[in-house]
């Protein structure tokens, strides 16, 4: 009986934790449909799906900035990476710089991306 009670309270605890976890994230980030456009781009990588995902990344940036929230991790980096793939070096560099400003701990990672892209740059 005690065991049963324990299990029941465990279930309630899990439920409470889970419901709490579904509310507005404690980070305040807005993700829009990030995983949806990323999946489509990954599944069928072409100009159309790439542009859609880039538009989504820009939308996420605008939304978080307008709501006074921090732009989620990696969003600037990912947009910069896609700009670099399109040969837009200046736009790429601006996004990489923003990622490092918002998240100083991303510095080594951004440097690693530069190395992969063989862009050199000021990093």
């Amino acid at each position: 009986m005690i065991n049963l009670y324990k299990k029941k309270s465990a279930l309630i605890a899990a439920l409470v934790i889970f419901i709490a976890g579904c509310a507005t994230p404690n980070t305040g980030y807005y993700w829009e449909n990030y995983s949806g456009t990323l999946y489509n781009y990954k599944k069928n990588p072409d100009d159309k799906t790439m542009d859609k995902h880039m538009a989504m990344l820009q939308k996420i940036i605008n939304k978080n900035e307008s709501k006074g929230a921090r732009v989620p991790p990696g969003i600037h980096a990912e947009l910069g990476y896609l700009f670099a793939k399109k040969g837009e070096k200046a736009l790429a560099a601006a996004q990489f710089q923003k990622e490092m400003t918002v998240y100083p701990e991303s510095k080594n990672f951004i440097e690693r991306i530069y190395k992969m892209l063989e862009l050199g740059g000021d990093n």
Binding site: K7, G21, T27, P73
Partner: protein, 226 residues
């Protein structure tokens, strides 16, 4: 939506028979001292299931829940491209490397390995679901120790709610299973996995969730005590 959540919670409960409750602090003490990471490098998922497509579902949906828990998460797709450029096509190879490599090359405080052990689609008349078995292991790149881990088997429901008409449901199920969007399901599984993860630097709950209780696997020592 509420029904889906309830179903998920219940399914977690059903497969959690060998579990007990613990505070997060007791379960993962390393996540409450200087060993707690700020930045996490997510290694592209290791897929041991028979469903090759499952890898992408998890890779595209892991950043959101992990970041929402307060960590700086490096975009998995970029990490994957860097690995490919280095000739690493299989994440399983990465598992054998000392974690310090990722501190040096990426500035990551921790690396997260996700293993998809199974991804089995089950079809029934008015419902369809996917049984997913997952392992998550978070390794400190400083001490090379496991600072957090999670393992579970969950049942995720793909079918919409019943319309009350069997024929309509039959058609609906057929359509759902044919074109089912598994991305939201993988996202759910990733979200569930991180419910027990202590909150990181960018979360309002950072350092305040030590007394939250979670369900953890009954350890061998605990079994011996009974």
């Amino acid at each position: 939506m509420k029904n889906i959540f309830l179903l998920i919670v219940c399914s977690i409960f059903i497969v959690s028979c060998g579990t007990m409750t613990q505070t997060k602090l007791d379960a993962y003490p390393a996540m409450y001292d200087q060993r707690q990471p700020v930045s996490i490098l997510v290694i592209p998922a290791i897929n041991k299931s028979t469903a090759a497509e499952a890898t992408d579902y998890f890779n595209v949906t892991i950043t959101e829940p992990l970041s929402n828990t307060g960590y700086y998460t490096m975009p998995v797709e970029i990490v994957r491209d860097i690995f490919l450029k280095e000739g690493i096509v299989d994440s399983a190879i990465v598992k054998g490397m000392p974690a310090s490599v990722f501190k040096k090359n990426f500035g990551a405080d921790a690396v997260l390995f996700v293993t998809i052990n199974s991804w089995d689609k089950n079809y029934a008349i008015i419902a369809a679901n996917v049984t997913v078995s997952l392992d998550y292991v978070l390794l400190s790149t400083t001490t090379n120790e496991v600072i957090w881990s999670y393992s579970s088997t969950v049942v995720l429901d793909t079918a919409g709610q019943s319309s009350g008409f069997i024929v309509a449901d039959l058609i609906s199920t057929a359509i759902n299973t044919a074109v089912a969007d598994y991305v939201p399901l993988a996202k759910q599984a990733n979200y569930q996995a991180f419910v027990g993860l202590p909150h990181g630097k960018y979360s309002l709950r950072h350092g305040q969730d030590g007394q939250d209780t979670i369900l953890t696997e009954l350890k061998d020592s605990a079994l011996a005590e009974e």
